[in-house]
């Protein structure tokens, strides 16, 4: 594939055509913050955003997703129709998170509901232009990416570099005739942007290499930090909801007014919520906040790693921002464990 270049003006026109030709979700301003939403006009796209409130995960694993139709005769049928769509403006750390989700949902018992959506999605990534207050992607090795997307955009002074990696990416590029080949000088500029981002996207500095986290956690089961932080936890699950690598779900039946048929849905769930590990009959296997709080960090830093080989934290910093009790900074926790180790 190839790296192309579009002037800022031609870029906006290209996005306008993309929006007319495809179902496009893009980053837009939402009051004083940013969010992915249906994109109507190229001019609304805000690729200079710092971080979105929710990660783009919401289009691949929707908050409420129909899995099956059923009727009262207990006949069940899969729902898998998904129209093609484009997500415009995904930061590198969120691309890494999506690659992790791909692994989870394709491994072992493959999940056709996730994979259908994933197949229909075109991912347009963008190198970060403004660092958010709590990002630490630099520490997690996720400030830049070289795979997992269909197109990667990089803002240069008056233009965008467009790195096209797949046929889906090529298909989008058919909507402009203004693209030129990127020059050696352009690629050097891009490299500089990416090198700078590794340093800039590091508002909290993790003092240990991410791959050391499983071993560090392994030795920190009884560390006082779990209880100390958990005592302030509201068990609200906000850290779960905004996390790009949280994918746990609950399943519910929604019955139609007719009472003859209905839809089985999966809905986002969170391991910090009090009832997450409760079973019928009332026994709760993680009834203390401390158990749930520690579980979340162990799942991110150790359990997922053992199962899939990934550290399930990409350094987006959304949990830090979302936590009303100010106890959800993973870097603070991990540095503390390291200090006391």
């Amino acid at each position: 594939m190839s790296v192309k270049k579009l002037s800022a003006k031609a870029f906006n026109k290209w996005v306008d055509v993309c929006v007319q030709e495809h179902c496009v979700y893009g980053v837009q301003a939402k009051n004083d913050r940013f969010a992915f939403g249906p994109l109507a006009r190229g001019v609304d796209l805000r690729l200079d955003y710092d971080v979105t409130i929710l990660p783009p995960k919401k289009y691949l694993q929707p908050p409420s997703e129909a899995l099956l139709k059923f009727n009262k005769e207990a006949e069940y049928e899969s729902i898998t129709e998904v129209e093609p769509f484009v997500i415009f403006g995904i930061h590198p750390y969120d691309i890494v998170a999506i690659s992790q989700m791909d692994k989870v949902f394709s491994a072992d018992n493959g999940d056709i509901h996730y994979m259908k959506r994933r197949e229909q999605a075109t991912l347009v990534a963008v190198d970060v232009q403004n660092a958010s207050d709590n990002v630490f992607a630099g520490s997690m090795g996720t400030a830049v990416v070289d795979e997992g997307f269909d197109i990667l955009l990089t803002r240069l002074k008056d233009s965008y570099l467009i790195d096209i990696r797949t046929e889906k990416g090529e298909a989008l590029m058919k909507h402009t005739k203004k693209a030129e080949d990127a020059t050696e000088a352009d690629l050097k500029l891009r490299q500089q942007v990416q090198e700078d981002n590794k340093a800039l996207l590091n508002k909290h500095e993790l003092l240990t290499a991410p791959q050391e986290l499983p071993a560090l956690l392994n030795q920190s089961l009884d560390h006082p930090v779990w209880k100390e932080k958990a005592e302030l936890c509201y068990s609200c699950g906000s850290c779960n909801l905004v996390c790009p690598t949280c994918y746990c779900f609950d399943v519910e039946d929604d019955v139609d007014w007719s009472l003859d048929e209905g839809v089985r849905r999966r809905k986002w769930d969170g391991c910090m919520l009090a009832e997450f590990a409760a079973v019928a009959g009332g026994h709760n296997f993680r009834r203390h906040r401390e158990d749930r709080y520690r579980h979340r960090y162990y799942r991110k830093g150790r359990y997922i790693h053992e199962r899939y080989g990934d550290i399930a934290c990409v350094g987006c910093g959304r949990c830090i921002t979302a936590c009303t009790a100010n106890i959800a900074n993973p870097v603070e926790i991990y540095n503390r464990l390291r200090e006391d180790h």
Binding site: N109, Y247, D253, A278, R299
Partner: protein, 282 residues
């Protein structure tokens, strides 16, 4: 560029297949026995100790242990305690009603590795429900196994399950079957006390014995300590653990015990595999 991971499976892991209720029989105040058959006529294909997800349209889905041995034909049994949405609604099922079934899921009691050995089965309360699948399997292959010791504990005599079947089990050669109730009443003249009281009453040859433990969460640590005192090796103790298994296929995250998913690496665990896992045994 790596293409996104390809999902090998073309079938839907969440899609239940239709099954029909063949028989319903109340067992206690809270527990009811059900016999099911897949509408396809095919056997479920389960192994002793595995579970299925039972779907009731509009109510939802719940993980339920299979209580019968695969040696007993194409139908399969469950005994359900009326404690949740699905289990509650199941108590309104009548024969010929239809449900959805996914599975079987999870690990099995190691009925092959047990061959040639004595088997000690320790069942608290509805822990007898999944263990019954092993007992039936052993009885149907009786010559493959050594001595069978079945220890059963319930809260009261009114909570006893499979009363008629237990009478038959007692009659089988080389079976020791002991029952206790936590609280004796006018309907019980047998042993009174918690299930650990039964262990000293059986003669166990620790080097020749495989132990199976299934019961309420509180029971495990007390039983296991006693088995260890009796010198049964941790690698010969199997436990079946309960957790909230929402999806049954290792995705939803609810049944996690540290790095394990109970629906995948369990529900039957070799105790030596989980003895240093802090969330496993309460």
């Amino acid at each position: 560029m790596k293409e996104p991971h390809v999902c090998e499976s073309k079938s839907d892991i969440y899609l239940p297949e239709p099954a029909t209720v063949l028989q319903v029989k109340p067992m206690t105040r809270l527990e009811t026995y059900f016999k099911f058959k897949l509408n396809s006529g095919k056997p479920l294909g389960h192994r002793p100790g595995q579970f299925v997800q039972v779907s009731l349209p509009g109510i939802g889905e719940a993980p339920i242990s299979i209580s019968s041995s695969p040696t007993r034909g194409a139908s399969f049994d469950m005994v359900v305690r009326n404690v949740g949405n699905v289990s509650g609604a199941m108590h309104k099922l009548r024969s010929v009603d239809r449900v959805g079934i996914r599975g079987p899921f999870g690990t099995e009691f190691p009925v092959d590795e047990m061959k040639g050995k004595d088997v000690l089965l320790i069942c608290g309360g509805i822990g007898l429900v999944p263990v019954r699948s092993v007992i039936q399997y052993i009885l149907d292959n009786r010559e493959d196994y050594g001595r069978i010791m079945i220890l059963i504990g319930t809260k009261t005599s009114a909570d006893r399950l499979f009363i008629e079947e237990i009478k038959e089990w007692r009659r089988v050669k080389n079976i020791t079957l002991l029952e206790t109730v936590d609280h004796r009443d006018e309907n019980w003249s047998g042993i009174e006390g918690v299930i650990t009281m039964l262990l000293p009453l059986v003669k166990v040859n620790p080097s020749e014995t495989v132990a199976v433990v299934c019961g309420p969460p509180i029971m495990y640590k007390f039983v296991i300590v006693q088995l260890q005192k009796m010198k049964v090796p941790d690698a010969e103790i199997y436990v079946s653990l309960e957790r909230h298994m929402k999806c049954g296929v290792g995705k939803c995250g609810h049944c996690q015990i540290n790095q394990f998913y109970v629906c995948q690496e369990g529900p039957v665990f070799k105790f030596s595999d989980i003895s240093d896992i802090e969330e496993a045994i309460e």
